[in-house]
Symmetry: D2
Subunit: 305 residues, 4 copies
């Protein structure tokens, strides 16, 4: 993997935005690897994601599928001046009324995983992280149960047991938030974490808490969605990953998937089938977030693929 920078932009739409941004990158010598735009014509908004090389590869061994022998010679840039570009871009962004993030792969995002007693999602995320599929640090796993402790140990990740009771919920959250501060967490992943976060917690991490809900939202919000799906007699079940907002199960949807069921499937079959959906839907959302492919606007997401 090579070092890259990613620029995410959203702003009011107007003529010449692509020309202005790509022109500035060209002036600074950027070798663009990926560029993607989107316009919401109804709302008059423009969205853009650009990724370009900023330094040599990190020297890791090539994996089995590598061997990109005939990549153009200049694809690995040695000395892109990211700070210089940042300063120049800030001027342009102000002029064009842009919201923007400019990040470098040199800093790996730091992720905290929260879970309760069901471990399929956390086990999946840890495995993917261990194989390099998720490019992040995971400095801490937080749970109100002890089931995840040995798994955390296997992957060498500190585990924090923070039971949550109705009486002492505020105190528990204060300890959680202190942990996140200490560990400089960028992203919180709720991997089937069964507690509802307070508005104060949510407000502290806007578009930086990802949850997986075990239904095809907006159907079957709230508790026990597989029971509700079974009772309604649906023919497909689903899972949804989304950013957490104040309204329960109502945040911007990142990814959804479904699986076919039949009258033969009891609730426990839905639970089992659903676990496969939850894993995949959550993992995709986390990967896209880490790759800075997601832009939120209103209550929706743009996911550049």
């Amino acid at each position: 993997m090579k070092s890259t920078a990613v620029l995410l932009i959203d702003c009011p739409d107007r003529r010449g935005l692509v020309a202005r941004v790509s022109g500035l990158l060209y002036e600074h010598g950027a070798n663009i690897l990926h560029a993607d735009q989107h316009q919401d014509h109804e709302l008059g908004l423009f969205f853009m994601r650009v990724e370009w090389g900023i330094g040599p590869a990190d020297g890791g061994a090539l994996d089995e599928v590598g061997g990109r022998g005939n990549r153009p010679a200049d694809a690995f840039d040695g000395n892109f001046d990211l700070d210089g570009f940042r300063a120049a871009f800030a001027v342009l962004a102000r002029e064009l009324n842009m919201r923007w993030q400019l990040t470098s792969s040199a800093r790996r995002p730091r992720v905290a995983i929260f879970c309760s007693q069901y471990l399929h999602c956390v086990a999946d995320l840890l495995h993917r992280s261990s194989t390099g599929e998720l490019d992040c640090e995971i400095p801490v796993i937080v749970s109100n149960h002890r089931e995840v402790e040995s798994l955390s140990g296997f992957y060498g990740i500190p585990f924090e047991y923070l039971p949550v009771t109705a009486a002492a919920k505020a105190e528990s959250e204060a300890r959680q938030m202190a942990l996140l501060e200490q560990n400089e967490i960028d992203l919180v992943v709720l991997a089937r974490y069964m507690q509802i976060l307070s508005p104060a917690f949510v407000a502290r991490y806007p578009a930086a808490i990802i949850n997986v809900h075990h239904s095809f939202l907006p159907a079957f919000t709230g508790a026990r969605p597989y029971h509700a799906a079974h009772a309604r007699g649906v023919k497909l079940i689903g899972a949804t990953s989304h950013y957490v907002t104040d309204l329960l199960d109502d945040g911007p949807i990142i990814e959804q998937d479904v699986a076919r069921i039949s009258h033969r499937d009891q609730v426990e079959d839905l639970v089992a089938r659903g676990r496969d959906l939850e894993r995949v839907v959550l993992a995709r959302a986390v990967r896209w977030h880490l790759d800075r492919r997601i832009l939120c606007y209103g209550n929706k997401t743009v996911v550049f693929d």
Copy 2:
């Protein structure tokens, strides 16, 4: 295609049901072509579908995929005594507290199609009917618009224009129901018919009115579901076919399917993608109903495939 009989059963579960039913069929010499059972262990219910040969093939030319040369010689039965079996089975059914339907392919179901101005579903059903994929008679097409008239003409099916106004809704329905009576209709298919049927109409055709709703129910009930899906920012859209009951969009679900969308898709893209879902989801439901594969119980369906 050969002549077959289909027996559909539901009853309280108890030991020996399969043995009793299959034993009686065996005594009467039935050559079972398909048999399927289902037990709802929670509710203690038993469901069964059996299909067997009752007479020679109808003599139609073999289609391209035919040529089942090595079918056992006795698969085409000449003389199953359906009336005799019916009388014997009625005794058993009473003893075992069964609800049951025994139908013969000798009588083709008679279907009325209702539509409004969008023709994709009705065009699809008519094409499938013309190719033999749907084994039914369609003696009448009813619409509150005139768009379907030329299509009806092309397929040689009588078209009845019955405008529906708020003021004269009861009168319109009375005319519709008279048409259904005259044409001895067994099944009403609402192929994007934009009017809501009265409780009296619905009560007249229990589990015999199939509707297609352009969302993944129970999400986005009611009007303009594609607009609602777009506003919520879902990543998959769906369509649902179901039996019509008194509660709008709440009847037993027969089939559902979904398609992936992205932030690039505007409402009109959802409408276009959704048409393909609606067609397929409605056509499957109608075919399964005509093949007597569906049993309703509570607010759900068993679909024997």
Copy 3:
């Protein structure tokens, strides 16, 4: 629908391509509606599609889903100088070694449909064309069978019956090609047309003949793929739309889809299920081609969505 221009580009990758193209469009006052790029890093190739407004809307009535009331005021441009831009772009394209196509929605593509005795694909295309989903003219339908004649008549499209025999194949093709010439055909759609076109025919329409093959290519090339799929015992069947090249069933794949089957499905069930796949897979390919979303390179396609 409004008048737009589409520019499709492929060329060797190098820095500044997006900046150069978008800069030129900006200079000419283009209001970009959609822009998409792709880089094949292995082969060092760059692909781009840009669409922008060139004139007022065509004045057609807004459809049910329209109502884009808050679109920016300048979205409908009155007077983009397409010829001027074309001349300027030709200079740039020469410098950067680009292959390119610049087309305007003012000229609707002209499509010939070829079919044999199975009508599900042609019926589907004609219905979609009649509802405006496919933005093209269909001046002629060609078949070596007569089954499609009445359908052609219903849609008011001239039908040409051209039987093909082994002995007179060259003569038949000569007549076909003359028909295509007379009708100024841009795209030939083989909607389950059961004859193999000669290399000379194929060479005459590079990347302009779309076929649908009733399997998930490259599995089950050649004749009777559903029989082959049934014999192999696969659990999913597929369909593939592709551009026609000299090698049978080997051209660049445009779209594929699959459906789940089970041991219960006989060959005729696969045929029936497959028809739904074929329709959708072919219709998508035709729509994307008409919207100029497809670039061929090597034996592959880039499909900008």
Copy 4:
């Protein structure tokens, strides 16, 4: 979970098979939980799976979704005479020329997992086994690499490192087969095991070795299927689980699934997407085998769901 027996049957089709089998079960007092039949009319074959209760539940705690409070009182049978039934059934089976297996959940199948350096499938199977989703014993994990050693340790499963070299392949296989013997293995799962088993090995475990191939078979057999899929430009990738036979990648297919890709996906993206398919497709096959839902005939499977 309760104790159940499963009877799997295949035989030439004839009248009365269901009646005979279900009658015998009824005589012996069986409470049938699931019954399923299939007839292959082309080949004149009959297949049946019946599952019934044979003893009290195993006393495990009810899981979260349990609570089947209103199950009929007689669903948990205390004393089904399995040996008596087996003796009686053997007589019937001989008369009707049946092949059959009668198994009891009292004996949990014993599974050996073989893998090489890629661990996603084995990690997935071990996690599913640990949560009870796969009802089996896993007494040994065998690999020609050491990567799986710590994972084996975490789950407390003996790990056997058996390097395979071309020179000493026969010797390695002899040691593998000895291990399988010692551990009384019923099922061998090749979880991305990169060595080809000899015909002698395969012959020793007919329909008892499950492999996952990382393509949608029969497309892309052999090595490096993702490279081949990328080269061909397919729009969907797949994975296939199948029983191993002498012919490479040609055994009876148990399950297949696909995922959509685009021109943006490089080979390494296919590899990453494919891992999710491989996991699910292999896990389903193993679960269905353990639940004795699969019957092989010819080169195909019947999978009762």
